[in-house]
Symmetry: D3
Subunit: 200 residues, 6 copies
């Protein structure tokens, strides 16, 4: 039985609703990735909201931060694993594979981050993100202190918290709308890239 290739369970919007100023952004996606990520096409049902989503996302995941882009993606995947979000596990699992050059690391984040061998700093970061996801009301000053001991600054604490929080948002948008990832993600970066090794 062929698997679903819809964007979401809503009537798929075509790009005719795309605000004109976002046309170059969609083109850039096609140029760089070869496709427009379905999460962006999902927002076409409410196009006036798309601009805000893109800006928040790009600053969060690609903007300056004490966390590397790979670390932010690792949080994204570990959070999405807790929430069992198919879209984000496929799309951001691919990002971890690509940024780390390590396909096994991508699968570990997606299946059970606890089996990975990580520097204590990254392990603490993921433990905090997953606790905040699974049982947010239990987070206390002691948990924040655990991050500070690993060298994370106030800005870093903010960023860890915000990335973890943000994927609790997008995971739920994906679940609520039955958002399907682009097929292209499945193949991406399945081969180890030793040039990136240790780049995390």
């Amino acid at each position: 039985m062929p698997q679903p290739n819809h964007v979401t369970a809503l009537a798929d919007a075509d790009e005719s609703t795309l605000p004109e100023d976002l046309l170059p952004y969609f083109q850039k996606c096609r140029d760089k990735l070869g496709f427009v990520p379905n999460v962006l096409r999902a927002w076409l049902v409410r196009p006036e909201k798309l601009r805000n989503f893109i800006r928040l996302y790009d600053e969060l995941m690609l903007g300056p931060s004490g966390l590397t882009k790979l670390e932010r993606e690792m949080i994204a995947v570990a959070v999405s694993a807790w929430n069992r979000c198919y879209y984000c596990l496929v799309a951001h699992g691919a990002a971890v594979r690509k940024l780390s050059g390590d396909p096994q690391l991508g699968e570990m984040m997606a299946f059970n981050y606890r089996v990975a061998e990580l520097p204590p700093r990254q392990r603490a970061m993921l433990d905090f993100a997953v606790q905040l996801t699974a049982a947010p009301h239990t987070v206390t000053e002691e948990d924040r202190t655990g991050l500070r001991i690993q060298g994370f600054s106030d800005e870093d604490l903010f960023d860890i918290t915000e990335v973890a929080g943000f994927f609790n948002y997008t995971n739920r948008v994906a679940h609520g709308l039955d958002m399907m990832p682009n097929a292209e993600y499945h193949d991406l970066a399945r081969q180890p890239n030793p040039a990136l090794s240790g780049a995390s």
Copy 2:
């Protein structure tokens, strides 16, 4: 023992980091509410992210939608109740009291929305939002159909999903940073306002 009055557990940023173009926004808060909500001051530790947050939030909660502003606030509070988020329960509980003119409705959303007497449409909306919060991976087409039967459109489904998702994000930012609500919220709209009755 006096209760905490910090903004967050991070070193409280003063407004000197506030980007100049946001000064009028903060001033508008002071004019309309009498204070700047602490959630905005929390973001001062990463001021370049504040603008994105404000835009996304304002469109989501105040922009055009098939959901009334009160309905969006009801979702916000029911989600925050599941996550036991002190900040959002205080701030958005006040918003429900104010917009509905019904202080009991505010407390019902904050303690257990199931005890409220609501039109079936609103009950279905909250059931979906809380399921998406508590067990997002269990949401299926049957649940979306339940919303459509109540008359919700594709755009409405998007908005219910996004509001529920978004408060799963801000709840976790509040928990992660120990964000405290402004004291002013506690007193707000504690008296019934019959003029609003039935306005939901």
Copy 3:
């Protein structure tokens, strides 16, 4: 939509079933509080049980104990928050506000007691009460030792345990019967009372 003002989901019993010797007790409620708490009226469907309930309750919450009345109410609210009991959160949340003179403390107990700044003794007391509520089979000697280290005696351990246990009982009676709190509780003690400050 007006919120429910029934006493319970059962046919509301009038006071004609009230045993004669309890008439003065109901009158005392009216004199002191201005109303008879609905929890007492709920029991009118089984009036012969009311006397026992009142005696147990009054000794537990108002009788001599190493715990202050405020501390017993704090346990009541923290337990009721775990169980998401609307009746008890409204009625006993009001009691915490009144006894402490601190409206924020009442809301903290009702939303997430972990955000309050409390003496270690009270924090340990609430942690024990909530563990006993949420995962009673995990309580071990180590947890009791944690209370003893804070200076609690055997009698205190008994009282903390019994108050926590008791609200697990009344929370479930309220949930099972859809018991609604008297409207008067909502307004009660919403203003800080500095005279009581530090009285806990």
Copy 4:
């Protein structure tokens, strides 16, 4: 290694603290059962509370009710099974065996009441009691209607709810204090008693 034979983890109180008017009650226990149940001895650390507990308990479990004594004990055991309460499973499991004459029924209630073959009325009663125990905030009018369909009256709904609630209280007292059951319970009524068969 010999198993614990203390009454509770608190210093065991001797009967010198027993209020004089309760002496005949303890004597009646010895005459009828051959021993004083440890739950009563547990309360000796706070003897002034014992009288209230006994009165509430006796009315609840032995007083007039639309539920048979066996049915009340079945609720007690199914609730205690959810809470994994050793004391109550041993003591009230024995009561189910004795009142039903069916040792297997006692074990089914204590291990997993769903495996028992029960009249639909009793199954509905236990399902309600366990839902109220495990997820009290999810009980709705639909669940109460389910009981009414089985013929339960308002008074019966009250009694089912109160018995279920009450064992959530005593289970937690037992867990909180590490209360051990009297050794005599283990052997009680282990043989089928066909004379009672169908007596439920």
Copy 5:
């Protein structure tokens, strides 16, 4: 109402399907126990699988190991208690009573192993087995180290893990098929056997 005496919810297979080479095994059960355990009769619906099950089981529970037979049965019962498996609690609870000579120990394992007084080694063993049952993805090297500190070897860790894992398998077969234990187990070894005391 008489309790169920079926083997499983499937059409009970008679022994005509029993592979000939297993006849002596069934006979040995009858000679030693007086009956063929229903778990073996359950497998008669797929007789070609029975041989494999018996071999795995017998090596696991009766073969050479650093764990005593009683310790393996204690794990079996503590795991089955978590999973609320009626069949295994009845059958292996009886085994703990018999091998230990201590009826209370059997009930403690079946109701809540945490109330038993056990040597630290056995307590660590059961804590590990129940953690592996309830939240397997949380087991880390620290937990294995906890076992090693108690003197468990690599082979012992394997055996603890495998016994715990195995009862998570058979518990689910029993739940999935509604497997009922033989009535004979209920009476077995209800009297203390001081000759075995300390034999664990």
Copy 6:
């Protein structure tokens, strides 16, 4: 940081302990797969148990059954996803990809089987297997009836139940021992194989 390549957290046993009669089996693995699956090497610490494990496993997953091999692997992966078992998700996820020729189906089973478009028969089969995994004590006759309605026979019910149960066993062995999958699995069958399409 290179990811772990140990077999388990125990001292890795070399094949010198392998019973002689199993040598051909290991050789067959090398011939067919190119490697010996680490789950078999994990058992070398207790080599006398390996034979039983292999026999049970091979009959269960490869022997005659009303379930296809692919269906058995789909159950294996959906169960392992609930338990977040890295080893089984990698190894059996690869098997689903290979047997179905559909890489997306493999990832759906591993991340959240509910997003897959499946024939109702297979969906019912997976729902049952995951319920039996996540909340085994809630399975009732109604759930078995749901399977029968889809055309499953008694033998099929047995096989669904046993496969689901078995992976609850091996998942826990993998978690308990920190078993790592062979690196070769990660690449396996990542390309769609249309020749197999519809083969499930």
